[in-house]
């Protein structure tokens, strides 16, 4: 079943990679470079899944998550974190913040889309 994914990522090449992969696997993907853009697009496009890099300019991934969760129209959309896991305690922080799950960077192109599908299905 095709899903619509909103990918929030400030590195343009990484964004291109992820949206390309989703398209290659038959899904629809839209991209946002910042948290603000993401909020606007989430409202208008109502995606089935939001993938969000934790490190974004301005509003970071955690703040974006909390904004999404506090909006009645958007709060039911599962949000998955994309992260490099630099610091100890990062995983716990991500899970307890309310993310559906996480994908580590650099992503594995072979399993990336399947992981996203699973997150979307589980929600």
């Amino acid at each position: 079943m095709a899903i619509r994914v909103l990918v929030v990522e400030d590195d343009p090449d990484s964004l291109e990679l992820m949206t390309y992969l989703f398209h290659a696997f038959g899904h629809e993907a839209i991209g946002a470079h910042t948290g603000d853009e993401a909020l606007v697009l989430a409202m208008s496009a109502r995606p089935d899944l939001i993938l969000c890099d934790l490190r974004l300019p301005g509003m970071d991934g955690f703040e974006l998550l909390s904004r999404l969760k506090s909006d009645p129209y958007l709060q039911s959309i599962p949000v998955v974190a994309v992260t490099a896991y630099a610091m100890p305690g990062d995983r716990e922080r991500v899970m307890s913040a309310g993310f559906q799950g996480y994908v580590t960077k650099p992503i594995d192109p072979q399993t990336f889309v399947r992981q996203a599908e699973e997150f979307s299905a589980r929600a």
């Binding site: 990484s14 390309y20 992503i107 192109p109």
Partner: protein, 398 residues
């Protein structure tokens, strides 16, 4: 000439009138003692000041002259408040009354004033002086200049704050570096992946081959970055060790399950054995898994045929108390005696060809050894060329 030790002379109330030679000898002895005591007081580095119960100075040693700037002549007969800044006058009343009740006032840190008006940080101790009958007849105050010490303490505090800031900056730096280094790899590994999956179109054999080479090297670079960042954290003392009770069985099963596919792909048997009773140790779970993964991955990597076994046993009398030993044994290439010395060195690769094939960085064992150290344990090994090796992680039970 004023007798500076006047206050130290106890009033000889019990003296019998018409005392004889004994008394003379006694007086001579006590004069000698007095002289000795006087010398001690004079030579002391601390200011020693005798006072009446009303706080009038009766004796003033050389150190007091140096500390306060008043000569003995100038100080004696004057109230001690001469040296006390106005806002501290209450202190005098306070310690005078305490000492009158027989209390000793110990190492009070306060401020005094010199003859020239400048202020000094001092630490003072005041004790009662009693006569033979035990009556308190005055007080002895010793004062020490603690300006140096204060400055030293402030310096230390400042340095600690600096270190704290630097440490946090370093943490931030490592996190940024981690992110910065991984981002380009995302594109490299990612797009070689999409090309190899033939999404943009079919590939010739040469294109396929060359793309695979790019990907292998990108993975190698990634593991180098991971290991380097981990090592940086361990070295700078930023690696957090979170101790919790860990079930050894669970850890071994997790590692075995994860690596079973790669062992099977090479036709190797991967087996594990544990003692029948529950085995639990207090340690950092993530680090333990990382070390065990490293040792087992190595074993699989360097074994062409045969098996890799993980055996766990409890060592009652380890070198440092009860320990748990996790042995990873293989039937692989083994390590030549000449190479054994550099095994745990950073960036050491005994078989670069094999290492790089699976993305090894040459930091694995080095990092594992350091991590084992952080957990209070160590890694030991035994090996025979062409027969195999056994690497053992020892961890304290508690």
């Amino acid at each position: 000439m004023r007798d500076k030790t006047a206050i130290l002379r106890t009033r000889n109330r019990g003296a019998t009138p018409g005392a004889f030679p004994d008394d003379v000898a006694e007086r001579a002895q006590s004069q000698e003692d007095r002289a000795r005591l006087a010398a001690i007081v004079e030579s002391s580095d601390d200011a020693i000041i005798g006072q009446t119960l009303e706080g009038v100075v009766t004796t003033w040693n050389r150190a007091a002259e140096r500390l306060y700037g008043y000569t003995a002549a100038e100080a004696i007969g004057n109230p001690i408040t001469l040296t006390v800044p106005p806002e501290r006058r209450d202190e005098i009343r306070d310690y005078l009354s305490r000492v009158r009740h027989g209390e000793r006032v110990d190492h009070i840190e306060t401020v005094r004033v010199r003859k020239d008006g400048s202020r000094i940080d001092v630490s003072i101790t005041v004790s009662p002086i009693r006569d033979d009958a035990g009556t308190i007849i005055g007080l002895s105050k010793s004062a020490r200049d603690i300006t140096e010490r204060r400055r030293f303490e402030a310096e230390l505090r400042r340095k600690n704050i600096e270190l704290e800031i630097a440490s946090r900056a370093n943490d931030h730096f490592l996190a940024s570096m981690s992110h910065e280094l991984r981002t380009p790899l995302n594109s490299i590994i990612g797009f070689t992946g999409t090309l190899l999956m033939k999404f943009p179109g079919d590939l010739t054999e040469a294109q396929d081959r060359q793309l695979q080479l790019i990907q292998v090297n990108a993975r190698h670079l990634l593991s180098l970055i991971n290991d380097l960042l981990n090592l940086a954290k361990v070295r700078s003392g930023h690696a957090e060790v979170q101790r919790e009770p860990v079930e050894i069985r669970e850890v071994v099963e997790e590692v075995a399950a994860t690596l079973w596919p790669s062992a099977e792909a090479k036709g190797l048997r991967l087996a594990a054995s544990l003692p029948p009773d529950r085995l639990q140790i207090n340690t950092d779970r993530r680090s333990l898994i990382q070390i065990l993964m490293n040792l087992t991955t190595n074993a699989i990597k360097f074994t062409k045929s045969g098996h890799v076994r993980i055996d766990v046993e409890r060592v009652e009398h380890g070198s440092r108390g009860p320990e748990v030993a996790l042995h990873v044994a293989d039937t692989g290439l083994g390590i030549a005696p000449a190479d054994q010395k550099r095994l745990f060195g950073a960036f050491e690769q005994l078989h670069p060809g094999i290492e790089q094939e699976d993305g090894g960085s040459g930091l694995g064992l080095h990092l594992s050894q350091r991590m084992a150290g952080l957990l209070g344990g160590r890694i030991e090994f035994a090996s025979e060329l062409d027969k195999g090796s056994t690497f053992t992680l020892f961890l304290p039970e508690r």
